[in-house]
């Protein structure tokens, strides 16, 4: 039994990371129908900027705040220089632009930072909490709590504020949104800024556990995308549930079946979702807008 509990702890830890990445996808998708594949690079930037500021002697909380700020600026720049000029293009075109942006950001990070791996100190020490014969790191709980808080915030913003209504309206119909006086471009820019912030927070929270380097974004984006698909693209709750389910599936798969096929599990899940329930667990049936 303790091993099953250990697999569950491991799955929760990894799943919380995926969930945070998936959440970043959700916001931009909600506002603009675009899947932003540079989301993984936001996570990377959050971690790397914090690491390098911390190395330069900046206290950790300030380094983290500056890293979030820097990542938000990058998110806004991404919108202003790559996404906004392509407005009016199809979502697929914009998605391809985000892939290009992610390669670009990775390249720049490689030059500005370095190609090595870096770690951050654990917030509450690295001594694991033992429970029923299994062990979980305090930092895993921090990541889980962070995911919960961000979901709650997104929920409040989207469902309870005028701003959230404006985001939803923009996603539903840009032209109509503009006609009722919503500054559509500002709303989409804002969604990029928020996603960048979520990505940066994710990077800062998970770096003590997962380590970071200039190229961690790629796989995180893929896994986060799988999680968002599983949960239902556009649903914040779905993103978190999808992330945690994916993490659990991977860790139980690695522990009980074989660690050789661990990475295949995420892709099997994407395929299964697409075949059986294309809208995901919590997604609404997609309706073609005319």
């Amino acid at each position: 039994m303790p091993e099953l509990l250990q697999f569950a702890f491991s799955g929760l830890t990894v799943g919380a990371v995926y969930a945070l990445v998936a959440l970043g996808f959700t916001l931009i998708y909600n506002a603009s129908d675009v899947v932003n594949f540079a989301q993984g690079e936001f996570v990377m930037l959050g971690g790397m900027v914090t690491v390098f500021l911390h190395l330069a002697g900046v206290p950790l909380p300030i380094a983290a705040a500056l890293a979030i700020f820097a990542t938000v600026l990058v998110g806004l720049a991404l919108y202003a220089f790559a996404i906004d000029p392509a407005r009016g293009s199809s979502a697929v075109t914009v998605i391809i632009i985000t892939i290009g942006a992610s390669i670009f950001l990775r390249g720049v990070a490689q030059v500005i930072f370095d190609k090595r791996f870096h770690a951050l100190p654990h917030w509450f020490g690295s001594e694991p909490i033992r429970f029923g014969g299994a062990a979980i790191l305090p930092q895993s709980l921090v990541v889980l709590a962070g995911a919960a808080i961000i979901v709650a915030l997104i929920f409040v913003i989207i469902d309870r504020t005028i701003l959230g209504r404006a985001i939803l309206a923009t996603a539903a119909n840009r032209l109509a949104a503009r006609l009722v006086g919503i500054p559509v471009r500002k709303i989409v820019a804002l969604s990029f800024a928020l996603s960048a912030a979520i990505g940066a927070v994710a990077g800062i929270l998970v770096t003590p556990i997962t380590l970071t380097s200039y190229d961690v974004g790629t796989l995180l984006a893929l896994k986060g995308f799988a999680a968002a698909m599983l949960g239902g693209m556009g649903s914040a709750v779905g993103a978190v549930v999808g992330g945690i389910l994916l993490g659990l599936a991977e860790s139980f798969g690695a522990g009980l079946i074989s660690s050789k096929y661990k990475d295949a599990i995420a892709f099997l899940i994407i395929l299964a979702t697409l075949f059986l329930r294309p809208q995901g667990l919590f997604g609404k049936k997609s309706v073609e807008r005319v």
Partner: protein, 387 residues
């Protein structure tokens, strides 16, 4: 036009250059000795090629400042293959046909080396490779040598240490990247020779961020006395952290793939007590004065750090050894004639380098034994040499 315009221009330039060379022939007949180097200076293997290039440039400058070899200056011709075997092959042909080098010290990765071997075998020019895999020198190829130790030796060094401690039953967790896979296969192959039984085996992807499920399985396997982790990059650091998280109470052995201060930094407290084999270069300042390698590793690491401002790496050391073995062979042969130099390289005996003491023979084109590795243990965040 069938050829781009630069072609004709280059032909003219080349013709002009060779005309000048002919005119100046008497003065240059005993001119420069040309040494080629195809290295992965950029790209994914730049952590190998970059220190190798810096090292070769450093030692060539050094030798030339002291009057060269046999009174002749050495001209180093470096090409960057960016880790691409196809590019390496093209550059190898260029070195041989256009630059007419009389030897090559290069080939940062096993892939680029294997791609270049046929060119050097055909041209009958000695090629000292800087790559790890044992396939480079087994079966023996007449013109090919190498300086780095192999994965197999790392496994053997670890198993030797286990045997000394009466450890016979072990678990293994390996990365699925090229390095991890290759070393895992070599370890499985030689385990029997040391009476080691691998009770349980797990693997992880090079980008995985949590290995606790795999380690839980190893922990639950009865009778495991030690765990070995062939791997490279951040994976072994996470394995080490998870190992401590799960409080597994057996020794953990890492490979030479993580033999850098960076690993200790990443793994943090969890690295305490981890054992691994590594080249003497890494612990230059900790070697006892009686160690024959002490002088060369201290001198090389001092020179390298002063010149480049970067910490010394074993990869640069491989390039240093390759150059020195070639230089001594040229000096013994008293010519840079390819065939004679090859014969002398093969006769290298007792060369003390950064990677170990090299004794080559017609059947061994690497010439290192297990003494090339030191067994290290991490204590108080630093290396200590295990006797």
């Amino acid at each position: 036009m069938a050829y781009p315009s630069w072609f004709s221009r280059r032909v003219i330039l080349a013709a002009g250059a060779s005309a000048m060379a002919i005119a100046a022939a008497p003065a240059f007949a005993q001119g420069e000795i040309k040494l080629g180097a195809v290295l992965s200076v950029t790209g994914p293997a730049s952590f190998l090629g970059d220190p190798e290039k810096r090292t070769l440039e450093m030692v060539v400058d050094d030798v030339n400042a002291k009057g060269g070899i046999l009174g002749r200056k050495v001209r180093l011709i470096v090409y960057d293959d960016a880790g691409d075997p196809n590019a390496a092959r093209t550059f190898a042909t260029r070195l041989l046909e256009e630059d007419k080098v009389t030897a090559m010290v290069g080939g940062s990765t096993t892939g680029t080396t294997m791609a270049m071997i046929p060119a050097f075998e055909d041209a009958q020019v000695p090629f000292i490779s800087l790559a790890g895999a044992v396939q480079i020198i087994q079966p023996v190829k007449k013109w090919v040598f190498k300086t780095p130790h192999t994965d197999t030796m790392a496994c053997e060094k670890i198993f030797e240490d286990m045997k000394k401690r009466n450890t016979t039953k072990i678990g293994m967790i390996a990365g699925t990247d090229g390095f991890g896979k290759s070393m895992r296969d070599e370890c499985v192959k030689v385990a029997g020779k040391y009476g080691i039984e691998i009770l349980h085996e797990e693997s992880y992807g090079p980008r995985d961020t949590d290995m606790t499920p795999q380690l839980t399985n190893i922990k639950n396997k009865a009778g495991v006395q030690a765990v070995i982790n062939p791997g490279f990059g951040q994976g072994p650091a996470i394995v080490t952290r998870n190992f401590k998280q799960l409080a597994i109470n057996v020794p953990l052995y890492q490979s030479h793939g993580v033999a850098s201060k960076q690993f200790i930094g990443l793994a943090g407290d969890a690295a305490e007590g981890v054992r691994l084999p590594a080249a003497a270069l890494l612990v230059a300042d900790k070697l006892p004065d009686s160690d024959p390698q002490k002088k060369v590793v201290v001198e090389y690491s001092k020179a390298y750090t002063t010149r480049t401002g970067q910490p010394v790496s074993t990869f640069g050391g491989h390039a240093y050894d390759g150059f020195m073995i070639w230089k001594e062979a040229v000096e013994r042969a008293k010519t840079d004639n390819a065939a004679k130099v090859r014969d002398e390289i093969e006769k290298t005996k007792g060369y003390i380098g950064t990677g170990g003491i090299v004794n080559m023979s017609p059947t061994d084109h690497m010439g290192l034994d297990l003494s090339a590795f030191k067994m290290l243990e991490i204590r108080n965040g630093d290396w200590t040499i295990v006797q």
